[in-house]
């Protein structure tokens, strides 16, 4: 973490950062191995595992049959008995096929057994829309898993965090679900060399400001920063909080920010209703920050629809920079 800032960094894509994290994890610990569909010679549907199979061999970069439920269960069983599997879902949508193992088994095994076991499994979920893959390959289902005690759910927004959170997840004794937005895979950012971890459960303030607190997750962090830049040109300085982790949620950072700015805008790609923004809003409403609010809380989330195919429709389904700008401006100007 702290030490990472002092080590040399270079520009890597988000996908490269994840790949590097998995390679480092496997180098550091013989118990770590990768499982997933077409992650071997194919390199993964999004080329995240890339050529790792050449470096580590098919025993540690294991192609599974197209069996999400069984595969997830195998990963859980391996984790319980001493391995450190990293299981890749080809698309986060396919987690629906494995919900039983994730929700009933991985999340609950330690509790049901009174602490007799831990389940140190890492699951990776390429998520989100914007690829023209339509309704069954574009969802953002992180809130589903965020609802389940026993799981930890993270959404790295930057290459730095993608690597650091993955390495933290591998170290973590409990099941950690990593939601990676597919449109982020090719984005670049500075990534420290070598080993470091990014703490699970800590939000990061990406931009300071006093006009409004914008809490965003995953790709929305970037859209929020773009919006913030444009708003700054109008003299509106907003604070952008990258939540990074939805379970556990860094309540302290969000509450402190809202106490400072008195306004809250939540921006996330998942369906708006009963989504991450609902929890953030409720958390603020229940906290001391409520007394500081001088405007209603606003949520920008995904539309109440499956993700459509047509690119214009698809774009209209999730919050865009202009939506964020106008929502933030309205909120700051008191139009709400």
């Amino acid at each position: 973490m702290a030490a990472a800032e002092e080590t040399p960094t270079r520009e890597l894509t988000y996908a490269q950062a994840i790949q590097e994290a998995m390679a480092i994890a496997m180098e550091r610990d013989d118990r770590v191995f990768l499982m997933g569909e077409d992650i071997g010679v194919y390199g993964g549907a999004f080329q995240v595992t890339g050529d790792l199979v050449e470096r580590f061999g098919p025993e540690r970069v294991m192609d599974t049959p197209i069996s999400e439920l069984g595969g997830a269960g195998v990963a859980v069983g391996a984790a319980v008995t001493g391995m450190r599997p990293i299981f890749e879902f080809q698309f986060s949508d396919f987690a629906t096929l494995a919900m039983e193992q994730i929700v009933n088994q991985a999340a609950k095994m330690r509790y049901m057994l009174g602490g007799a076991v831990s389940v140190p499994v890492v699951m990776r979920f390429p998520a989100g829309s914007g690829t023209g893959a339509a309704a069954q390959h574009s969802q953002s289902l992180e809130a589903w898993l965020g609802h389940v005690p026993g799981l930890k759910v993270v959404q790295p927004a930057t290459p730095h965090d993608a690597k650091g959170l993955l390495l933290a997840a591998v170290e973590d004794p409990d099941p950690v679900m990593i939601f990676e937005h597919k449109l982020l895979y090719k984005t670049k950012g500075p990534v420290p060399e070598g080993y470091y971890t990014t703490p699970i459960g800590k939000a990061e303030i990406r931009r300071s400001g006093s006009a409004l607190t914008l809490v965003a997750t995953s790709i929305m962090v970037h859209k929020a920063l773009e919006a913030a830049e444009k708003l700054a040109q109008e003299g509106i300085e907003i604070e952008v909080v990258d939540l990074r982790c939805i379970r556990p949620m860094d309540r302290k950072t969000v509450i402190a920010s809202v106490c400072k700015t008195s306004k809250l805008l939540c921006v996330y790609e998942g369906v708006k209703t009963l989504g991450v923004g609902a929890e953030i809003s409720a958390m603020i409403a229940e906290s001391d920050a409520f007394d500081y609010l001088d405007a209603p809380i606003v949520r920008l989330g995904g539309a109440e629809t499956p993700i459509p195919y047509n690119p214009e429709l698809e774009k209209a389904t999730v919050p865009q920079v202009d939506d964020i700008i106008s929502a933030a401006r309205d909120l700051v100007m008191g139009a709400r």
């Binding site: 025993e59 069996s67 997830a72 069983g77 391996a78 330690r110 049901m112 009174g114 602490g115």
Partner: protein, 344 residues
């Protein structure tokens, strides 16, 4: 464990003895009988405690299925692992758990194996290799394959047994898990305890194949059918499967044809099966009675020896229930303990 039985003079002389009697010592055979009685009386004790309001929730009793639990587990070492089912009390005992801590769990006490968090449906004793019963039909099968993957990767030599019922053979998890175990040649044994009914729905009405063991052909592994109420048959099949697994030759599916004397759970009115059918299984095919008759025939034990085992088990059960009653309940303040691993 693998000590060969010395032939007893007299009764067994000159006969072609079943596997069990060739493979295990008389002491081991008497211990197997003791375990079967322990399971039976544990279930009866649990049922009585439930009736008396000492156990809440529900439970699924394995009375009538003792031979498959004991016959499989007697071939395993302490370090070998199992995954179990909602009807898992017998597996837990057969694998070596103490009944007092099982009763304590059913009573919801901190001294229970799961510190009162799991109850009957999640009974487990990880220290004796039981990774847990499971409330989800088929839920433990992929987990067993994962445990076998660990054994294979770490070269521990362990084998893993996944117990499940006939109902699980129609779950996707069963098929996905068997396929992967076979593709990767993992040291796992799939033990289907076919007690004829998935809750109320008979195998005949639910399953396209006549014998569940036929499913093995689809995954290119041996499928073995045994009379699950005959300990020797179960044990022989287990032995072959364990040897195969340890030799790195991959998984086996064993189908134990058996029957549960009690209903599915405590809410069952037994309207899907006849009294005659239940009585027939109880009176003519009871696994404990069948095993005792063999032990007597082969001179491994006499009537006094059986009575002694029963009496010893009775005492153990009574002491177990007393232990559970006296044990403390969990503190409400600790409600959220064990959701996550405590980190320094």
């Amino acid at each position: 464990m693998t000590k060969r039985t010395q032939k007893q003079a007299g009764a067994s002389e000159g006969r072609n003895l079943p596997f069990l009697y060739r493979h295990y010592s008389h002491e081991q055979l008497r211990d197997a009988l003791r375990k079967m009685h322990l399971i039976r009386q544990f279930e009866e004790g649990a049922e009585e405690s439930y009736m008396r309001g000492l156990v809440h929730g529900t439970m699924h009793l394995s009375i009538g299925q003792e031979a498959s639990a004991v016959g499989i587990c007697m071939g395993l070492g302490n370090e070998d692992q199992i995954t179990s089912t909602h009807r898992g009390h017998g597996h837990c005992i057969a694998k070596g758990a103490e009944v007092k801590r099982m009763f304590a769990e059913f009573f919801g006490k901190t001294t229970g194996y799961c510190r009162g968090r799991g109850g009957s449906m999640h009974i487990a004793d990880v220290s004796t290799g039981n990774l847990g019963a499971n409330g989800i039909v088929g839920g433990g099968i992929p987990i067993a394959v994962g445990a076998a993957l660990t054994a294979s990767k770490m070269k521990t030599g362990k084998v893993v047994v996944s117990f499940f019922g006939d109902g699980a053979n129609n779950e996707g998890a069963f098929h996905e898990a068997l396929n992967m175990a076979s593709v990767w040649k993992l040291p796992v044994i799939f033990v289907c305890e076919n007690n004829q009914y998935g809750m109320s729905t008979s195998v005949e009405r639910s399953t396209a194949v006549k014998d569940i063991a036929e499913r093995a052909a689809a995954y290119s592994m041996p499928g073995v059918i045994v009379d699950g109420n005959v300990l020797s048959e179960v044990s022989e099949a287990a032995h072959a499967a364990i040897e195969r697994a340890r030799a790195g030759e991959g998984p086996t599916l064993i189908e134990c044809k058996t029957y549960r004397h009690r209903g599915h759970s405590k809410s069952d009115r037994n309207r899907y099966r006849t009294k005659e059918e239940i009585e027939e299984w109880k009176n003519s095919r009871d696994p404990i009675a069948l095993f005792e008759a063999e032990l007597l025939e082969f001179g491994v034990i006499d009537d006094d020896g059986i009575a002694e085992i029963r009496a010893g088990v009775e005492q153990e059960i009574a002491a177990g229930i007393a232990f559970a009653k006296e044990s403390p309940s969990p503190e409400i303040a600790n409600l959220e303990k064990y959701v996550y691993t405590e980190q320094a």
